[in-house]
Symmetry: C2
Subunit: 226 residues, 2 copies
């Protein structure tokens, strides 16, 4: 009998979705390797939150990879000269979209998966209550999974790489209910695009609004510090 | 009449292939944006070479993006504890393969292309005289191009992103002949996996061997400093 646990790389942002994603992977019996990115985002509160979430839920390893994405610019999340909108949802793809961010993150997760000999990569993307980012859609995930299996030694030899998106069809309220059932402490997570260094949320940005509405719809007390 | 030049992002490593790739893009009338990566490789000579090549051939901008790929490990090129082989070609995918490297590099090029509103990304991969890396094959490039057009705002709206591989079917000798015709000074390029900081090549690693044989087969004097 093979008693070796299956391994997975989990992309962890410090936010609500990825914390739930990690809890789901753990509940499915995976040995979890959590990965966060220091990519020039506006605040470090989410990286601190990611580490606390990883330690609290329990992971085999937690790694923060530095990437100089601010050098590319083009987003309110990495360019201090572009303001984060706080005036309600706009149509189209918003200015908080970071060009190719999930492609970059999944690529690095793929590299680590290959080194670890892990078949599965978990990412907490969601196509229901999301912000209209192209790289959160099922089409994107499918295309990346195909790429992963031609891009790597492991993929070419075993055709075994899979991108897992357990939140893809859930509403924010359903994600929260799922996480609460699995024991996720959402007080540890930070979703705000412009949180203070101690993790206080603005309560006004798109990400804060989606989160707040999610707790209301789920009928769960919102533990966010505003 | 639209007199705006078409823009391209060119991945530039400081080696022979990518220098030729940049020269080809320039000869096709592109306004070129060159991109290099400081990803924990063994030596910095190739980054210095990339900058000199970019300045000599002429680019609109040259950007070096830092990525902490050494944190992932698993390759002789980023892990000082793994030796670079100097004892002839081995079968299979070699230890100098960096997990998911071209996927990571193309992802960041894709992000910059989106910010620049560039449709084309040039990468000097080659499927003839190459080292057996999975992410240098045409299947990989096709899969990445499909991904690019679902991963980004620009791709979703215009379906215009293209990954250009002008060297894909050329032998090393043909690449060199092409570059010489376009005025590339190969003395400025560094291909060696373990060059000294001043750019002296070892003459023994796989990359040095392929390069040396290429100059011989092309009938061109080898300007490499060994």
């Amino acid at each position: 009998m093979n008693r070796v646990k299956k391994k997975a790389v989990i992309l962890l942002s410090g936010g609500l979705d990825s914390a739930t994603c990690l809890a789901i992977a753990k509940s499915q019996g995976y040995e979890c390797y959590a990965m966060s990115f220091n990519y020039g985002q506006r605040h470090k509160a989410e990286l601190l939150a990611a580490e606390v979430v990883a330690n609290t839920l329990g992971v085999e390893a937690f790694k923060v990879i530095g990437i100089d994405m601010g050098g590319i610019g083009g987003s309110a999340l990495t360019d201090a000269d572009i303001a984060v909108p706080v005036d309600g949802a706009s149509s189209g793809i918003p200015i908080t979209y970071v060009p190719a961010r999930n492609t970059v993150f999944l690529s690095l997760a793929l590299g680590w998966a290959e080194v670890l000999d892990a078949n599965d990569i978990f990412i907490g993307v969601n196509s229901v209550d999301y912000s209209g980012y192209p790289d959160c859609r099922p089409e994107f995930i499918s295309a990346f999974e195909i790429l992963a299996n031609v891009a790597t030694k492991k993929g070419v030899e075993e055709h075994s790489l899979s991108i897992k998106t357990p939140l893809i069809d859930l509403s924010k309220a359903e994600i929260i209910q799922r996480g609460v059932a699995l024991g996720v402490d959402y007080a540890l997570t930070v979703s705000c695009y412009q949180a203070t260094d101690s993790g206080k949320a603005c309560g006004k940005c798109e990400s804060c609004r989606l989160r707040k509405e999610g707790f209301e719809a789920a009928g769960v007390m919102d533990p966010t510090q505003y």
